[in-house]
Subunit: 516 residues, 2 copies
């Protein structure tokens, strides 16, 4: 029997899953790595630490599964977007990898927003005007780290670097290239203007290939350690955003995929490029006739985790003693409060926000407090506020693409029946949630099958997705959300005028000790 | 030796204190009563229940003190403002007493605000345009309860009713009369226009007298029960607002008195009527050449109590087990967070607000949340937000009266060193806090001494006030408040446009159960 490994190189860890060709999972492994954050805007990782974690994860699934009845024929890749590493002419890293969460290029994004050039570039490349984008990071390097910029022979992302290390080939597939902001979304080639502005030459970038492109063979030293055949195929795969959308089955134009994991996202495939005149949404080509349009959202489940720690620190001990999951406990506490949290509204922008605000200064708030409100209201308001925010991104999406045909959702949030029901009620729509939520690595596996000629229609991934649950909106409840959402949206607009002042305060007085 | 009893008929209980003529306290008693709140806007009390509680409190201090060496020569009165009772021609109550917290006359206040008539009346009487005022309550009775309105032979407040019951004399002193909105503050007579608009005739109101006016003798039946001499004097006294200002020693023009008890207030005496063009402040004549100007604030210590219960429910048990006061515990937790709560701002309007917003729809909020914020930040932000709000009322006061000469503060909040220090830092001013905080009954006692000819200068109350503590602003800290206060004030303005919508939601969906 043959096997395929699907890998997902995430922001905090690499996951590897071993599948057989029917999509059955035999083993999973997960290896974490350090996020370096010496200053609040910095978010770097060590490319070789990630490479090692990935090797360990692959080795672990092979060992765990212990299948002597066949071999791993392909390793296929999903990975975080927007990462950037400078390599010297021997492909040795000159820098750590700057992750999507690194905001040091903020000044350049602000300039480009200000002078209108950002909007023009967005219309060419589909990258929103934000420091996450390698386009803006390159401007930062050019201006603030001219030595490194001069020394750099190549500019790559983490997936390209890892695949290069295993195979000796430097390639970049379309979806990841699009997320750099250096790819012209119409020609699907490196964009001349983007190269001119950043001062990067085409020969400093990997060769562009398709998502199903495969590289045969792996450096012998690694093959041995990991227990892989030296002729294994490396299938390029795609971004985690594209693959987790495919992996829940949101493949046809107009089917919406919503994800709430640590962060969150609202995404949909379209058959042609889609441009938001307000640049709130990205648009990245992924495959022929498949453009991924969506909004990346920082404040996802991490905000529920914050509320869990900040508001219910004491009760977690109780949950531990009772041997119940403390997120489940909070979800039950939230369920004691009526929908709409008796008119308490939470804006979840604890760490600035990308879509829909694109404002690094955004902050969170509870609004509407009266004397009957308790922590239980606050926790429900947090769950609701996170969904209102996704809904507001969806409204932006609807402006450019029309009403979604169907909604598929996934991510850690789906462990809570309450939270998924809130989503169905806020969206006033049926919601389908696959029980398995390893959608990224599943789609990577499926691309490998396409690459190997074992599948030829992306839609056929659906047979591997497995059982789904459906949630229906409750008419008694959604009229409440209809009343609250306009207030939520108007407040968002009102608050925005004070985000800068409060964020400036928080930066200025960080670590102040009040002593004379 | 002779004794004087100072009584304070509060919103939740009556306090009685037995003093000797040197101001020494021999006994205290406190008797509570029910607040009837069948609907959210209603806040009534039973006048006879209050009368009985008062009798019990008087009896209790006399019994407790057990002084056989002399007699009680006077009972002097402080009481809640704005209460209203309809009496029939035999002085029997036709209604309960509507307290200041009763908002059923909201519609009439709104009309008067709308058509400009409220501002004109405010300029005549000094009563802000708010349903708390008996002027607006009378409009409500006239229109919504015409039967009672027709039957009513007299309209009185709770102090007038109680004194009538003990003495058979129906009098009303100037400060309490002013708080009805029926007194012309320039002539210090019942205002013709106010009477005309409400349709109440002068002979339906008590006779106006001075605050030091005394009535000799008490109905024999009560004298006996309570252990009072039948020739005891009843000294009219004044409103709790006026007396607690006098009782902390804020007597000269321009000395500011701040109180945070359950509710809160910012007040100052002036030597002539003071009119705020925006009607944010009341102005009530109290004595010759003494006009009390100020802003009544609903959201005082009650908001700290809310945060205590809503955010730290679990920890109160721990405090109990440790035998420490749970408010002290919270104050210590708040003190672990730097001044400015790392940029978290709380607006304390949990139950609507009078000064400075005069908006019953106002609600509370936390603004500026980031991932480092915890419950400890929230509790400090609550204490700070309450002070910012008092400060914003003080700004209104300063607009019409100039910078305060000195600041005196009192109320339950003063038990917390942290909270008082926050006030000194926000106000950037030295703060003086008398250790005793029975200021209302102390001032009532002092008025009795004036009435009996034993004192003749209000300023001499200072010798009875006792020890005070002084707090100095910390220069390292107040620059933070200087940065935050403008944000707080701008947000107040921004939020105001959404208070009605969220309050409407909360009313519409109160008690909704979300079931199909
Ligand atoms: N240890 C403490 N530290 C800080 N604040 C406290 C403490 N104990 C009580 N308080 C606050 O004091 C408030 C009560 O104040 P106080 O005793 O002056 O009330 P009151 O007389 O009922 O008020 P009012 O003057 O409005 O009628 C409580 O609501 C609480 O917020
Ligand atoms: N039992 C639960 N109920 C609701 N939400 C949960 C539960 N457990 C975890 N979560 C949420 O899921 C988030 C993690 O989602 P997941 O998809 O596993 O993360 P990642 O994006 O890192 O892969 C957490 O931040 C938390 O908010």
């Amino acid at each position: 029997m043959d096997y395929i490994i699907g890998i997902d190189v995430g922001t905090t860890s690499t996951k590897a899953l071993l599948y057989d060709l029917d999509g059955k999972i035999y083993a999973k492994a997960n290896k974490g790595y350090t996020l370096y954050q010496d200053t609040p805007d910095m978010a770097e990782e060590d490319p070789d630490e990630i490479f090692n974690a990935t090797s360990q994860a692959i080795q672990e699934v092979i060992t765990k599964a212990n299948r002597q009845d066949g071999k791993v024929v392909a390793v296929s890749w999903s990975a975080q977007q927007h990462s950037l590493i400078a390599l010297d002419k021997n492909f040795k890293p000159l820098t750590r990898t700057m992750t999507w969460a690194d905001n040091r290029a903020e000044k350049y994004a602000a300039q480009y927003k200000e002078n209108g050039r950002g909007l023009e570039m967005y219309k060419r490349t589909g990258l929103p005007i934000h420091p996450m984008g390698p386009f803006y990071k390159l401007l930062w390097f050019k201006n603030e780290k001219p030595d490194i910029f001069k020394q750099a022979a190549y500019w790559v992302g983490i997936k390209e670097y890892i695949i290069w290390k295993y195979t000796g080939q430097l390639k970049e597939e379309v979806s990841m290239a699009a997320a750099t902001g250096l790819l012209n979304m119409k020609t699907v080639k490196w964009d001349e203007e983007a190269l001119k502005e950043t001062g990067v030459k085409e020969n400093q970038l990997p060769e562009l290939v398709d998502t199903t492109y495969k590289i045969k063979g792996i450096q012998a030293e690694y093959a041995k350690v990991m227990g892989l055949d030296k002729d294994v195929y490396f299938v390029m795969g795609a971004t985690d955003g594209a693959l987790s959308t495919i992996g829940v089955g949101a493949i046809e134009t107009g089917v919406l995929a919503i994800n709430i994991g640590t962060s969150a996202a609202v995404r949909s495939f379209f058959d042609k490029p889609v441009i938001d005149p307000k640049a709130r949404l990205y648009c990245y080509p992924v495959m022929k006739g498949k453009y991924l349009v969506g909004g990346p959202i920082n404040n996802g489940g991490i905000v529920f985790s914050w509320a869990h720690d900040a508001l219910f620190g004491g009760e977690q001990e109780a949950a531990k003693l009772l041997n119940i999951d403390s997120f489940d406990m909070l979800s039950k506490i939230a369920a004691t409060v009526p929908a709409g949290s008796d008119g308490l509204i939470f804006h979840p922008y604890l760490g600035g926000e990308r879509a829909p605000l694109w404002d690094a200064n955004a902050r969170g708030s509870f609004f509407g407090l009266n004397r009957k409100h308790t922590r239980a209201h606050m926790i429900r308001a947090v769950l609701e506020g996170l969904v209102y925010n996704l809904y507001s991104v969806t409204l932006a999406l609807r402006e450019v693409t029309g009403k979604p045909k169907a909604i598929l959702a996934a991510g850690g949030f789906a462990k809570s029946k309450l939270w998924t029901q809130i989503m169905a009620d806020v969206y006033e729509s049926e919601l389908t949630i696959p029980e398995s939520y390893e959608s990224g690595s599943l789609a990577a596996m499926f691309l490998a099958k396409m690459s190997l000629g074992l599948e030829d229609n992306l839609n056929d991934i659906k047979k591997y997705i497995g059982k789904s649950n459906t949630f229906e909106p409750n008419p008694k409840v959604y009229k409440k959300y209809r009343a609250l959402i306009p207030i939520y949206l108007r407040l968002s607009r009102q608050f925005s005028s004070e985000y800068k002042s409060i964020a400036d305060y928080q930066r200025e007085f960080a670590n102040d000790d009040d002593q004379d």
